[in-house]
């Protein structure tokens, strides 16, 4: 995983509650056996006027001019601003893969669905929970300030607005370390392989029926 470094990025607003993973990446694209290439199909049903299928050249498809991420002013956005319960629905990691491939590094929302939240960290993205008042204020600022960008400093746990106003945020210390260092979770866990083996042997003795072969 790449290390998460402090950056300043353009903010794009998606002003909806309950944006689900079927909307983020529709099911027909889950047939891929790869981890990459989902970006052009992020929000496919909202983003294009035609029906998308895997293998289509998205650069020639008709864009929906009413979909916010298609607006010229949000091109190149790396911070997604949205509302409550973002990423609800299925466990598909294709959702964070699609958002990351689209170019998003940070998501700002009032709340997230559990599995999506977890999956995002595994892909070097930072989903941040902000209070409703801050989210409301940001929606207002984005709308009226073309080119609105934020600076996200994970180490200091601070977001800085162009007007200098600072929003502090909370993040799980373990996840923060993993992101800052670009650590591989599996490698970390395997450092404890002996403990896992011991636990497993104990469990086998106590509950042999769980280990039927």
């Amino acid at each position: 995983m790449n290390k998460f470094v402090t950056f300043t990025g353009l903010v794009a607003p998606l002003d909806r509650n309950n944006v689900d993973t079927d909307a983020i990446i529709p099911k027909q694209f889950l047939k891929s056996i790869k981890r990459t290439g989902f970006g052009p199909n992020a929000f496919d049903e909202w983003r294009y006027l035609d029906h998308g299928e895997p293998g289509m050249d998205c650069s020639t498809r008709p864009l929906n001019p009413n979909f916010v991420l298609n607006q010229e002013r949000y091109k190149g956005a790396s911070i997604l601003l949205t509302r409550a319960n973002f990423g609800c629905g299925s466990s598909r990691e294709h959702a964070p893969w699609a958002l990351a491939d689209f170019g998003f590094k940070v998501i700002l929302a009032e709340s997230y669905a559990d599995i999506f939240f977890n999956n995002s960290f595994k892909n070097g993205m930072l989903p941040l929970v902000l209070p409703k008042e801050e989210i409301n204020a940001l929606f207002g600022l984005v709308e009226y300030s073309p080119g609105f960008a934020l600076t996200v400093d994970l180490a200091a746990q601070k977001i800085t607005r162009p007007d200098g106003y600072v929003i502090d945020f909370e993040v799980d210390p373990f996840r923060k370390e993993c992101l800052l260092n670009g650590w591989d979770d599996i490698g970390l866990t395997l450092r404890h392989a002996d403990e896992i083996r011991e636990f497993e042997e104990r469990r086998k003795r106590e509950f042999p029926w769980l280990f039927a072969a």
């Binding site: 079927d22 056996i33 319960n85 999956n119 373990f174 979770d185 404890h192 896992i196 509950f207």
Partner: protein, 469 residues
């Protein structure tokens, strides 16, 4: 000794190690695998030169992409076929406790085949790259969905890095009325607490109405716990659980069964155990439910009218209501029973077990699907469910009523195979999600119970099943 909740018992019995901040390494007993969320995990494992930690924890089968008719013609969509063949190859390489390939007599929806084979036992941790893994909480197992990175993590280490959830008790006292099922209980709870109401919580369902549910009903309820945002759902062990588990292929037998059952019976919340939050529901007040919008929380009793956005004060919510009504093609204030349907789907990991099919067939017996219904599908959850239904003559009831009787699979729940809605089509569906495009681009999904789907099929529009029972 301090009184513990069921969740706390399950959690503490799986902690391999715990950091001072509460981050823990949790041991995983059962890993369910299907074709959609696993290929990248197997690939990652191989690229890193790692081997699966314990292959016999794996129970696998393809289900999302498999067709439900013309099995002799195989999987026609080459992209779907490649994904299924990739699972075949991955399991061939790594091994598994059980693998039921496409067309195997035991193949079906992973959340149906695992319990029916006794591969889910009380006290287990169960994971799968699928959010509806919460189903298995019905067995007092700590079961939840994970992403593909975590699928790889479990393959490589047999563990997950987790933090303990908060606990919520949903107590459903009283008796369910005639025609009111576990699905209605689930939808009513989601209607009450919202799709984010359970976020961050392990939810235990308890109370007389839950004790009165069969294992099939409890699976339906826990399956939908994820639609309330919950990390997982749980039902404590009782004799219904123990009886279900007798003589299952992968479960303990004989003396070992008795020893296991003695342990299983301890898997309940202790009297006086403290929950972080409690929700009370009166079972007798629950009517058959129908979702009208594009989120499972947009749900109402069948006797109600479609909501009016004009009455919503919150601007974001109001816009959400308007958008949902526009997508669903509905007018504010129209009666739910005035909504005509085009298709009916009885199936999915929520409602495709034998009891679901029996209940739907009881409504359909001697009746016909309405003329305006273009397609009515009955899709059993597994090969064994299908054969059991056929032995009972249920298939003949479905077919006589005008339903198509299909082969098992996920089918029109998420339309990754050929079963789907055309744009604008409206479906009475026993599945679990009514998101935009879920059953096909532009499709309109209304979530209901199997008996309510059957009642809608006959009437051609939503109807109160209590009137015809």
């Amino acid at each position: 000794m301090e009184a513990k909740t069921l969740y706390e018992k399950l959690w503490s019995s799986h902690v391999v190690r715990e950091e001072p901040d509460g981050t823990a390494l949790i041991y995983i007993d059962r890993h369910l695998v299907h074709e959609v969320t696993s290929p990248q995990a197997f690939e990652g494992l191989k690229l890193a030169g790692r081997k699966p930690w314990r292959a016999n924890s794996i129970v696998a089968n393809p289900d999302h992409n498999t067709p439900t008719d013309h099995w002799d013609e195989g999987i026609k969509d080459p992209v779907s076929r490649l994904q299924v063949e990739t699972l075949d190859a991955n399991i061939r390489d790594t091994g598994a406790l059980a693998y039921f390939p496409f067309k195997d007599a035991r193949q079906g929806i992973i959340h149906v085949i695992a319990p029916e084979n006794g591969a889910i036992l009380p006290g287990m941790t169960v994971v799968c790259g699928d959010s509806h893994t919460s189903t298995h909480g019905a067995f007092a197992a700590m079961a939840h969905g994970i992403g593909t990175s975590e699928v790889e993590h479990v393959l490589a280490t047999q563990c997950l890095v987790q933090k303990k959830s908060k606990t919520m008790l949903v107590r459903v006292e009283g008796r369910l009325g005639k025609g009111v099922t576990a699905k209605d209980v689930a939808l009513a709870i989601i209607g009450k607490i919202g799709t984010a109401g359970g976020t961050g919580y392990a939810v235990e369902f308890a109370g007389a109405a839950i004790r009165g549910l069969s294992m099939e009903g409890r699976m339906t309820l826990c399956n939908m716990a994820i639609e309330a945002g919950a990390r997982l759902g749980l039902v404590a062990v009782d004799e219904v659980t123990v009886d279900y588990l007798r003589n299952r292929p992968f479960g303990p037998k004989g003396e070992e069964f008795d020893k296991a059952a003695a342990y299983w019976r301890t898997l309940t919340s202790d009297a006086g155990a403290k929950f972080d939050c409690t929700v009370e529901v009166d079972a007798s007040q629950i009517a058959p439910q129908v979702t009208w919008g594009t989120s499972p929380e947009m749900v109402l009793p069948v006797t109600a009218n479609v909501p009016d956005p004009k009455k919503e004060a919150d601007a974001v919510k109001k816009e959400g209501l308007e958008r949902a009504l526009a997508y669903m093609g509905l007018q504010p204030n129209m009666p739910i029973t005035a909504i005509a349907i085009d298709k009916v789907f009885i199936g999915s990991c929520t409602n495709s077990r034998i009891e679901d099919l029996r209940q739907a067939a009881a409504v359909l017996k001697g009746r016909k699907v309405a003329a305006n219904v273009k397609l009515a599908l009955a899709v059993p959850g597994s090969g064994p469910v299908k054969r059991q239904a056929e032995a009972e003559g249920l298939d003949r009831i479905f077919v006589a009523a005008g339903f198509e009787w299909r082969e098992p699979g996920c089918s029109m729940c998420l339309a990754m195979n050929a079963d789907r809605l055309a744009p604008g089509e409206r479906c009475a569906s026993t599945s679990n999600r009514n998101f935009e495009g879920r059953q096909g681009p532009g499709g309109r999904t209304h979530l209901v119970s199997p008996v309510m789907a059957a009642a809608a099929a006959i009437a051609g529009h939503f109807a109160d099943v209590r009137d015809i029972l």
